[in-house]
Symmetry: C2
Subunit: 337 residues, 2 copies
């Protein structure tokens, strides 16, 4: 019989935590025991897993005894404190927050792209930002084939990236607005219903937001590259899935046929690209799905060796929960010697 | 007493036609008589103008007798047929459709940018596409100061650009979706509520859409430039106003301070750009306003002599109705010799 694992989820009642639970179930992850952890406020809730009721416990320093994989998705300060404790207890901490991502000795992993880098872990492995994960999935085969020199990215990011309350705000405030009633934004700096907001996370000194700098820095760490990147991250009134309009300049020329071919054969990427039939991915098409979808692939008429494309994925799945579970699966399939 | 003019609006019951009527009223356009024209289906409606009821008449070949300005916004085939008839009758036809825009002998005008080119008109003057008008307003002072070499544009365009039925579809289908009911899209190729759709207008052979090619070609015609441009035009679930994420590469270097300065002094442009206070334009901020708003101005860290910015305007006003009325105003203020 193949081995089974003791898995803990930190932040089990959050949007990503719940998606991790769904994904472990859907993928028949080899689970011995599932420990659901959260803050005092959320502890006591009962969540169904494989048709059994699992009670959410309070996260404590001794929560990680005998745990093999601890999946963190409860905010940076929680990961900062508890991921090292989990690692010290012998667990592999797979962290979905930004806290460890850019640390030199922490691997930042998208298994299909740089699974090999997991081998350098010291108990903690970082999961990239949602907008980065889907981006590098589409970029990796292109970078391998033609070496990417520069990227200009504009994003269309759903509210679920901002958590449960943000989802409720879009839903409720949209309802109010359709009745002609206004409402004060709480989760966003401006009203989100029927609006677009060009700010995600706080601003840094160079005029970019942290979200934009995450995409820029994390992409180069994962691809082990020095691509010149600029990005504008924008929140749109969509519940699930992020879309990205990406302009890619490569060193070598690539035909659009070649781009479609190499993307189609890359694991976890699906090309949806037949303009004459209006075949391209939209946010809602990709919600609840695992793959990263790419469409609108065309030669950029403004510059040599450049292509435009449109990259879409479920930000809660490949952008967060699915990728975290895939990291654990990769480690099981590729045990270190 | 200053002269007053006989004005006709073709497509008076459409979204843009109605906005033209509002704007003529708000700006105290010197009107002698207002003739409202539409198809048989819409004729007979009564619209209030300056507190008087004006009955919409059927558009006919003899509708333009004694008309000084005929503002067209009823579709390309109507303009193709009737704008030359209006011009022949002695009116100035100001056309908001794409039909005449790229014809060599037709001026394509945004008054603040290239009002001087009106002088070459032969009775027909074209109004640019909504996404072009706001773009060239922000680009003109930058191009004059530093010569733009290349643009990478991604748009976030509201449904009002697609007309009355598109506005109703977003409103009604959003309401259904919030009740958990699905609905078949009619005005869009995919569902628009809580979604983004990377297609506006039909595709052409190079993989771009007509909307994207309009932005590219019209921008260079208006700026009398040969800027290399790529664009991705995307529909978002917003009622009014288009947003544009624009990456601008210039020949000469420009500081962000300089960019803010030259934009601030350009007529019709307002800079809203203080990231630390979350000051930047959003779609809803600019709805119902005349100016083009620019924010998120920053040095592009990926390339020399490049800046990123975020350009927002009411697509029905500066993008259509306001610009058409401003063309007439410019001609009144600058009579040809």
């Amino acid at each position: 019989m193949s081995k089974k694992y003791n898995v803990a989820i930190v932040g089990a009642t959050g949007v990503v935590g719940k998606e991790i639970i769904n994904i472990l179930e859907q993928r028949n992850f080899p689970i011995q025991s599932l420990t659901l952890l959260a803050s005092k406020r959320s502890a006591g809730q009962v969540i169904s897993f494989n048709e059994k009721a699992v009670k959410v416990k309070v996260l404590e320093e001794n929560s990680f005894k005998d745990i093999d994989f601890a999946l963190f998705s409860a905010g940076s300060s929680i990961s900062e404190k508890f991921a090292p404790i989990a690692a010290k207890s012998g667990a592999i901490a797979i962290d979905n927050t930004s806290f460890f991502r850019m640390q030199d000795d922490i691997p930042l992993i998208v298994p299909e792209v740089n699974g090999h880098a997991i081998k350098n872990h010291k108990g903690i492995i970082a999961n990239p930002n949602c907008s980065t994960a889907q981006l590098v999935m589409a970029l990796k085969p292109i970078h391998d084939a033609a070496t990417i020199k520069r990227l200009v990215i504009s994003t269309y990011q759903s509210v679920s990236g901002a958590g449960k309350d943000a989802i409720l705000e879009l839903e409720n405030h949209s309802r109010y607005l359709l009745k002609g009633e206004d409402s004060e934004p709480k989760e966003f700096v401006k009203p989100i219903p029927f609006n677009v907001i060009p700010q995600i996370d706080n601003f840094v000194d160079n005029g970019y937001t942290k979200e934009e700098m995450k995409m820029i820095n994390e992409t180069n760490k994962i691809l082990e590259s020095e691509i010149n990147i600029t990005a504008t991250a924008v929140r749109v009134p969509v519940f699930i899935s992020h879309c990205e309009s990406v302009n890619i300049q490569t060193e070598k020329e690539l035909s659009t046929k070649k781009v479609r071919d190499i993307l189609s054969t890359f694991p976890g990427v699906t090309v949806l690209d037949d303009p004459q039939k209006s075949t391209f991915p939209t946010a809602r098409d990709s919600s609840g799905k695992d793959d990263v979808y790419v469409g609108r692939i065309r030669k950029d008429i403004s510059q040599k060796n450049s292509i435009d494309c449109w990259i879409v994925a479920d930000n809660l799945r490949k952008g967060a929960a699915l990728n975290a579970v895939q990291i654990a699966e990769y480690m099981i399939a590729n045990p270190s010697k």
